[in-house]
Symmetry: C2
Subunit: 251 residues, 2 copies
């Protein structure tokens, strides 16, 4: 836990918070903080800074925030489309997306996605949030990715996306990793990157997108590239692609 | 499972193999193969190619290999030093290392590594191998990373490394990700990459290396760089750094 994430539910008064779940355990048993100690905190979807521990009991930890400041949003904005993976993988994708500053996470149907995955209780917002907050806490970020679920492939790509990006349609950089492609990210992503251009990255299911899906995505502007010579797991592909985008941004 | 990994223990005769563990379940229940079907196989630390299913029973699956060929080793050679993480994380590091073609994996002691981690049963070769083979099977590779464990930080960096790389000391590219550093990988890793230069990448523990450790590593030639603006988990840092090295190689 690099940043203690606080939510409205934890608030007990002005600048004062009380936590009584696994975060309190962590403060007591791992960080071993006592009254008067300081730690780094962030308000969910809000500012971050420091807080002082006011009380530690076996039931709860009470803290008071100090010096909170809004942190600029990461640039470029990165939104992620992910063919809905099985729940075990989805948990990792949620953590990684939050840890690496993804703004929106679209979970979509694809030919190689099992229909039953859409029934997973993990898709309920309260269950997702647990893993998103875990990722924010690791990555020292406070803005929670906006997760949405889309069980119609075609409608999502043909209708939903054009609505969501109607204002960015000229500048949006749509990226589609494809192990069959010979071009690296540097061939399709401007370098040095123009940080004002939002990025939309589409990660396929285990087994990949089917040709119909790739054709439709290319038709609406997605550009294929090759992350590398590997066949990666979904959650590893997410991290690898985001790391490559970041390298072109900062290099 | 993108590649069925076969070991000497599976061999029953020339070109013939019998498997009766989770791999057989996968062939029966996920791939749903029957006699006469083909699948991609690789011999552990050996060639890869195709095989034909000769028999499927509730106990076992028998196959016969066809057309196996040696696949060139990935370049550049990448060796990974990893401060020994807790077992839950180590499993992921083992899978990722094998999946992404790491040649050697050094698991080392560091100030922020808990001593008890060195007692983990996971460090026994037989237990490691399970996760390494899982990674090879995902990444379609057959060369198993060579794992070694080093419980003395100083001796490892000052003695063991210079022995292992005595022949490569001039060309070895030693890389040390550090969130505090302002230089990107492109600033310390030659681009376009000279694929004949082996790479040695050192990933720290949760909480990072301590200053003494960074100083010692820099003294023997490690160059610091910044993967990105994030605080990453160990297994994510491994994937992110390897993906960035690959981008500079292929771009």
């Amino acid at each position: 836990m690099n940043l203690l994430i606080l939510t409205e539910n934890d608030a007990t008064g002005e600048h004062r918070y009380c936590i009584d779940d696994h975060r309190a355990d962590h403060i007591r048993n791992v960080l071993k903080l006592i009254s008067g100690d300081h730690l780094e905190v962030g308000l969910l979807n809000g500012p971050q800074g420091t807080a002082v521990v006011e009380g530690v009991s076996s039931d709860a930890v009470t803290i008071r925030t100090e010096q909170l400041e809004l942190v600029p949003e990461p640039v470029p904005i990165i939104d992620l489309i992910c063919a809905l993976p099985r729940p075990q993988t989805l948990r990792k994708v949620l953590v990684t997306s939050a840890m690496m500053g993804v703004r929106r996470l679209y979970l979509v149907r694809a030919n190689r996605v099992e229909k039953s995955y859409f029934q997973s209780p993990l898709l309920q917002p309260r269950n997702c949030e647990r893993y998103l907050i875990e990722g924010l806490s690791q990555g020292k970020l406070t803005r929670m990715p906006q997760v949405s679920v889309h069980d119609r492939f075609r409608r999502f790509f043909e209708d939903n996306l054009s609505e969501d990006y109607s204002e960015d349609s000229d500048s949006l950089c749509q990226l589609l990793p494809d192990p069959e492609c010979e071009t690296s990210l540097a061939g399709v992503y401007p370098c040095p990157a123009d940080s004002s251009r939002p990025v939309l990255l589409a990660i396929g299911p285990e087994g990949g997108w089917v040709p119909f899906e790739v054709e439709l995505m290319e038709r609406i502007g997605f550009q294929r590239f090759r992350i590398g010579r590997w066949m990666l797991r979904v959650e590893t592909a997410v991290a690898a692609a985001l790391a490559q985008i970041e390298l072109l941004r900062i290099q």
